[in-house]
Symmetry: none
Subunit: 200 residues, 4 copies
DNA sequence: CATGAATGAGACTTCATTCAT
DNA sequence: TATGAATGAAGTCTCATTCAT
């Protein structure tokens, strides 16, 4: 029975933190939403901070499962697209959690978990880029900046999607990958190079 | 004397909000930092919220000045690069302000100013893309998603730069534009390499 | 336990408001007097204003019970005397509350309850006077002024009694009624004296 | 010029205290109303309390002048009526001051001046009554209670008048004296006594 | 496990008063 | 005298956490 109560508290906290942010969320809101007494909360969580971190941990774990390391023997574009699709899908299934993670505020004690997670993701992306470059599939670039750019593109797009309905997850993912791979420039036709854009 | 004090309070608030976030920041911190008595704060600002919004307004105005509308008669890539360079430059000159703006939390009363600003920027970017497509310089794409992706790339990169020292603003801007234009894929033909962009 | 605490707070507030007036009274005084923590106060009352109004409501209700409409089939003087006696009695039993009500200050939000109450009492008195006049028992007069005069006489007398000890409530009431009925003038005829009223 | 400023401050304070009560009144209100700088206030008055007491003193002095001791060689009723008329007149000419004096709150430091004044008036009234009784003009009664009753009647009537317009001061005074002298009872016609009212 | 009344540190804000100009 | 920016004590209220039942 305890597990049930704990679960209801986590669900409630998810909704409340998502809607009100960490500081706007009060224990009262959470226990009201969960239909549980005040003392009961502290039976399951040591503090407001703890339940928040618990939620963060949950997302991070789920995301780690959805982001799979690229298998060099398969089509990398396909795999990247699927990774992103899975992430977008998760964000839209669990919008509250997504909103929580994509909130930021500068209390490092609170957000170090997500910060670390995003650092890891950035590192993963950077690794992939480096391999791609080494394999001659990707062009040379500043891998750190580019990795951050990709991460930012995905985060911002998801943040923006969070208020939309009826989303074709896979199309989004493809669009993102397309952008990351080809950029915006119109494909060079013959010996086309980017000087072409200089004609704008 | 009043204007001076007001300025010191704004400077102090900038530092404090940047370091502690809106909720972590206390009036005590601000007045200590400004070396001013408690009452003095309320002589210049009606509330904590007001001084915060004041700061936000400041950034938004400054950013609006640095982002110039693309002049079709000139080189657009060049202009975009310069826009981004100016934004990055501002973020690095005013790291505290940048940190404040890039913080997010879900109190809409507080952040509606930045939210609106970023929406405007996204709209500007989207407009540019559409024009580029119409002119046949940019490929067809989902302009909304792509605009958000670009915005996200810049934001995330800046956020990441905020902890770094000795940054070559212009190089960053070029790298961002390169990524946005060409993507990561290696240029189709043998000859293409990214040195080409050095010709910009 | 909650009801008990609430009661202790009300009792404490009664003492404190009575002694220091609304503005002089601080939450600290009330909770110290009640032996309760600061937060506990706000568990039971939304604000200082609320507990004050609560007290006011209490008095008004109690007074309304003690002031009975005159029954025309009985002796009106007797009934009026008893009404006044009951009011004086209440004021002396609950001197703190009486002091609170008889305080005035011009914050209408605060005192509208008593103001309204006294207006009602004045209206009741005026109605009685009018009936008395119509029945030919009372002389013609400006009923509004006279009603206010009677109200004022009772209020001022009670206010003055509040600092006295060992009071014969009924004697006070008789004296007030005597004054209101006969005035101060010596009875017209030789024989008349105030012992007559002793026959009441 | 100083005297002028001081006067403007007193006038302003009169309006403000009257409208907002002692605690509701702020120095800001007074100086705004007077069109004077903050520091200037403290050039003329040591504190908020002082200017308030100054105002109180003013009233008390004015009232003392208007209330004349009864001259036994003249018509006492006439003289009492004139006294009351003069008091009512003053209250209506200086409604703000009247409102201030008739406000009460239990801070004795603040209101001791009026309290003392009213005590004096009550004593004066009591003295008059005693003399009247000794001279055989007034009936025997509890002089203290009766004096307080009369005081209360006048105070409450004035308080009530303060919100009215176009008042016939003299009629009010006559009505009050009438009430105080004859009471409400219909004049005994023959051997009439108040048992008559028992017939109500 | 559950309850919910009680706690109290500490946040924001007000406003009478001071003082350098 | 006059000014008004600056002061800071003190007040009200909030809310995460505790604890007796």
């Amino acid at each position: 029975m305890s597990v049930q109560t704990r679960g209801r508290l986590l669900e409630a906290a998810k909704r409340v933190f998502s809607e009100k942010g960490y500081h706007g969320a009060q224990i009262s809101h959470i226990i009201d939403e969960a239909g549980v007494a005040r003392g009961t909360f502290y039976l399951h969580f040591r503090s407001k901070e703890e339940i928040f971190k618990e939620l963060l941990k949950e997302v991070v774990e789920e995301l780690k499962e959805r982001i799979r390391v690229i298998d060099p023997s398969g089509d990398p574009i396909q795999q990247i697209t699927e990774n992103i699709a899975r992430v977008v899908e998760f964000a839209l299934e669990e919008r509250e959690l997504a909103r929580i993670v994509l909130q930021r505020n500068s209390d490092p004690r609170l957000f170090s978990a997500t910060d670390r997670f995003f650092d890891e993701v950035a590192a993963m992306i950077e690794g992939s880029i480096k391999r791609g470059v080494a394999m001659g599939v990707l062009r040379e670039c500043d891998t750190e900046i580019t990795a951050r750019s990709i991460l930012g593109a995905v985060k911002e797009t998801i943040r923006w999607l969070l208020d939309k309905e009826d989303i074709d997850t896979f199309r989004i993912a493809r669009e993102l990958v397309e952008f990351g791979m080809r950029g915006l420039r119109r494909d060079a036709q013959g010996g086309g190079n980017h000087e072409g854009s200089g004609a704008l």
